[in-house]
């Protein structure tokens, strides 16, 4: 890709980006959100046209005018949110758009052979006759990989493929990537997880502000220099200092014997005022289900939740909110935000009662004032409170979710993957905010799949497996090996 340029109204998204990819290599593409990675990849995949520049494949200029043209040129794209039809099975998804035919009918056997052939090449086994919506995220990703491979892709782009996977699934993914490499495919690997790059990447390209800032082979590109290139300045450590919890701090949240089989099985723990408790564990261990049950998003079968000594029987999220719980969900687009509404409407949604006048009408001026306050305080990058939330970047959307819950002055904050898919700068701001909340007397429970985050941001860590707390660790005891051993059930 040479000198690729692209502008959106008011933004120069790409400013002459040049990128080389060799066959049989993995090129990691890193950069903060908004650096231009996704736009660049969309141009490569034919989803958007470039304003300027050219793309050469095997030295020849390629006209990528549509997604279909890109596919025919051997470019395969695996987006973070997959492009599978959830109601179709693996085979149908793989051949979709390229169905083998026998006369006017789909050649079912040919389709099956094609799918099993690709899975065989990759060494993957998974249920072929089940709707893909029933499969795990990792399995769906395997189907996506098989799909692009069945279309003879030689250039494969993966956007944050490891974001939703457990460590074991990531190992598997890396093996598959190595297989693809050995077959001579070139892979562009987009990731926010710098720690995994040495395991998989050959070279790293850092993007910032619509430019390719630096490309080096992974061997002489240490993580701190990558981070510096990404943010344009050196970050010592993006975790803030955690203030100590007063030894006599009162218990704010007490969970006793909370159960909601099969994912939550008798969970008991306490969180004190000013304390941050991390829930660690593999994906599917039941961490999200535990916080959902506490918040009332799911109804617990048995067990008790106390907030400052008052028993809470949450039958709905509404009960949790009025008891002082703020639940920041893992999937902000599906659960946290109404994307078509403005920043203002999202911020005030959970506490609209505060904005109702005596005449029962909403006080819009007050809504605007409060929203502006939070935009400033949280540094939400939005032109105004009236901007549609769907137009903001991931980090800024997450800040809107936070603003929504800060507005309620909750006593207990449940964070589920608070920094998934957002850039380093925004992450640091969210960590600082969590510290500020805990200093202000809140009790915080944080679910995170990023081990450094759990280790760096928790006073205490509970390791969850099979819907139970299998290990409780103080900050001092918690090391990566101990947590992983407990989470995977390896004796430790």
């Amino acid at each position: 890709m040479r000198d690729i340029g692209k502008s959106f109204p008011g933004v120069r998204a790409l400013d002459g980006v040049t990128l080389d990819l060799h066959s049989g290599e993995v090129l990691a593409l890193v950069g903060e959100n908004g650096a231009g990675k996704s736009t660049l990849m969309k141009i490569l995949a034919g989803a958007q046209p470039a304003d300027s520049g050219e793309i050469l494949i095997d030295g020849k200029p390629a006209a990528i005018t549509s997604p279909r043209a890109a596919e025919e040129l051997g470019i395969g794209m695996i987006y973070q949110e997959f492009n599978l039809v959830p109601s179709l099975n693996a085979i149908d998804n793989i051949v979709l758009g390229y169905e083998p035919r026998r006369g006017p009918f789909i050649d079912e056997r040919g389709a099956r052979e094609r799918a099993t052939g690709v899975f065989g090449e990759l060494g993957i086994t998974l249920p072929l006759n089940v709707e893909t919506s029933q499969l795990s995220v990792a399995q769906q990703q395997m189907i996506e990989i098989a799909k692009v491979l069945s279309r003879h892709a030689r250039i494969i782009v993966m956007d944050e493929p490891s974001a939703a996977l457990t460590d074991r699934e990531i190992d598997r993914l890396f093996e598959i990537i190595k297989t693809l490499k050995a077959k001579g495919a070139g892979i562009i690997y987009i990731s926010h997880r710098l720690e995994e790059l040495p395991r998989i990447a050959d070279r790293v390209t850092v993007m910032r502000d619509g430019r390719a800032i630096e490309t080096r082979s992974i061997g002489d590109f240490p993580p701190d220099e990558i981070v510096r290139a990404m943010v344009g300045r050196r970050l010592d450590s993006h975790f803030p200092e955690l203030p100590a919890v007063a030894p006599d701090a009162p218990v704010m949240l007490s969970v006793r014997g909370l159960s909601r089989p099969p994912m939550v099985n008798g969970v008991s723990f306490q969180v004190r005022r000013g304390e941050i408790v991390g829930l660690a564990g593999l994906v599917g261990a039941g961490r999200t289900e535990i916080v959902r049950a506490i918040a009332g998003a799911d109804i617990a079968k048995s067990g008790e939740v106390d907030i400052e000594g008052n028993v809470l029987r949450a039958r709905s999220p509404r009960d949790g909110i009025s008891a002082g719980i703020a639940f920041i969900t893992e999937d902000r687009k599906a659960q946290g935000l109404v994307l078509g509404m403005s920043v203002r409407e999202n911020v005030t949604l959970a506490h609209l009662g505060q904005f109702v006048n005596r005449d029962l009408l909403l006080n819009r001026a007050k809504e605007e004032d409060v929203t502006e306050q939070y935009i400033e305080e949280l540094r939400i990058r939005t032109p105004s409170p009236e901007q549609t939330v769907g137009n903001l970047s991931g980090g800024n959307q997450q800040k809107v979710v936070l603003a929504k819950w800060l507005l309620g002055k909750a006593k207990v904050f449940l964070f589920d993957e608070p920094t998934r898919g957002i850039d380093i700068g925004a992450k640091a701001e969210i960590y600082n905010l969590m510290v500020k909340l805990s200093q202000g007397g809140a009790a915080i429970v944080m679910v995170s799949s990023e081990l450094p985050e759990v280790l760096g941001m928790s006073h205490r860590i509970m390791v969850i497996r099979g819907g139970q707390i299998v290990r409780e660790l103080s900050r001092a005891e918690a090391t990566p090996d101990v947590v992983i051993a407990a989470a995977t059930g390896a004796a430790a």
Binding site: P317, A334, V338, L349, A350, L352, F355, L362, E386
Partner: protein, 350 residues
């Protein structure tokens, strides 16, 4: 210092955005009115001046009244990404039941009118509630539950009335049905007065518009249509809001049924079994409300109903027969939504 700058910039952008939104809103209203005026003038020429006579304009308003009231209720349902197919049949059923009620009680004058209306509203609310329960509790599609209610209500109204209109014994409803608002005043100014049903419609349009745009309930309706799970997790009582939109739709149908009963001095099982429901949905969609939920306005619905009403009136005036009228109406609905979509895409690009 920096904070003050940020504050200033935000305020500036907010005013700009607000201005833009206001401008966009008024551009739309102006475009709608402009379009209607252009059509009106063209039609006026075609109909040799009879279209723009005050009497005829009042006539158009009178004709759209019942459909517009149905469409207003339907707007709430459609913004939550649902649909209410039962409104037409509920017009018939409420008309029949109200007429039977009015004939059976020993009341007269205003108490009779109010009692009858209350019976109708209760019936409409109950039907809306029944529509909503399977949608809320079992997550069934509203298309199915309201389709069932459409059939049930239609069957019931024929069964109760033995298929014949139920004439009202009391003449007390005439003023509501065919009277004029401040009639003597308008007459003394040599103007045709506003028919009472038109006043009812305008009050409902304004009231429901405020309910939708300015209250907590209205905001929740949009939130529900935009992202139901996010709304639920934000503490919105999803079940209640959803139930209420169907109840509102049912009550609007009952009001339309009441006014039609008053107009004809009888409750007929046939009043709402034609194209009423489809035309109400058409008015909502032509008025810019998204069938995918999350977006829409009552004022838009009013203009949608007005456009369709004008079209019918015009075609009658220039002597287009009823089969052709349907073809034209279908084409206009399609054209309206296509133009609206193109306009949105253009705005997004600009």
């Amino acid at each position: 210092m920096q904070e003050a700058q940020v504050q200033a910039e935000l305020t500036h952008n907010l005013t700009e955005d607000k201005k833009k939104q206001t401008r966009a809103y008024w551009t739309r209203v102006a475009a709608a009115i402009g379009l209607l005026v252009v059509i009106a003038i063209l039609v006026n020429i075609a109909s040799k001046g009879s279209f723009l006579e005050p009497g005829n304009i009042i006539n158009v308003l009178r004709q759209i009244t019942y459909g517009c009231i149905l469409a207003v209720g339907e707007t709430f349902v459609i913004i939550t990404a649902g649909i209410d197919l039962s409104v037409g049949s509920l017009v018939s059923l409420s008309g029949v039941v109200m007429a039977m009620f009015a004939n059976s009680v020993h009341l007269g004058g205003v108490p009779l009118i109010i009692a009858t209306l209350c019976v109708g509203l209760a019936l409409g609310a109950a039907a809306g509630f029944v529509n909503a329960v399977p949608v809320v509790k079992l997550n069934l599609p509203s298309f199915i539950t309201t389709l069932a209610m459409m059939l049930i209500a239609e069957g019931l109204s024929f069964k109760l009335s033995h298929g014949r209109p139920v004439p009202l014994d009391s003449p007390d409803f005439q003023s509501t049905g065919i009277g004029f608002f401040l009639g003597p005043l308008f007459t003394s100014l040599h103007l045709p007065g506003l028919p009472n049903p038109v006043i009812w419609m305008l009050v409902i349009v304004v009231g429901c518009s405020i309910l939708l745009m300015r209250t907590r309930f209205g905001r929740y309706v949009f939130a529900l249509g935009g992202n139901e799970e996010a709304a639920r997790l934000a503490g919105v009582n999803v079940a209640r809001v959803k139930t209420l939109v169907y109840v509102i739709s049912g009550m609007c149908a009952a009001v339309a049924g009441f006014l039609l009963m008053a107009l004809f001095s009888s409750g007929s099982p046939q009043t709402g079994t034609g194209d009423e429901m489809l035309e109400a949905i058409a008015a909502v969609v032509v008025g810019g409300t998204s069938l995918m939920g999350g977006r829409g306005t009552i004022v838009g619905t009013f203009f949608g109903a007005l456009l369709i009403g004008m079209l019918y009136n015009v075609m009658n005036l220039i002597g287009i027969e009823s089969y052709t009228q349907k073809i034209v109406l279908g084409a206009v609905i399609l054209l309206a939504v296509v133009i609206d979509e193109l306009r949105k895409r253009y705005l997004r690009k600009a």
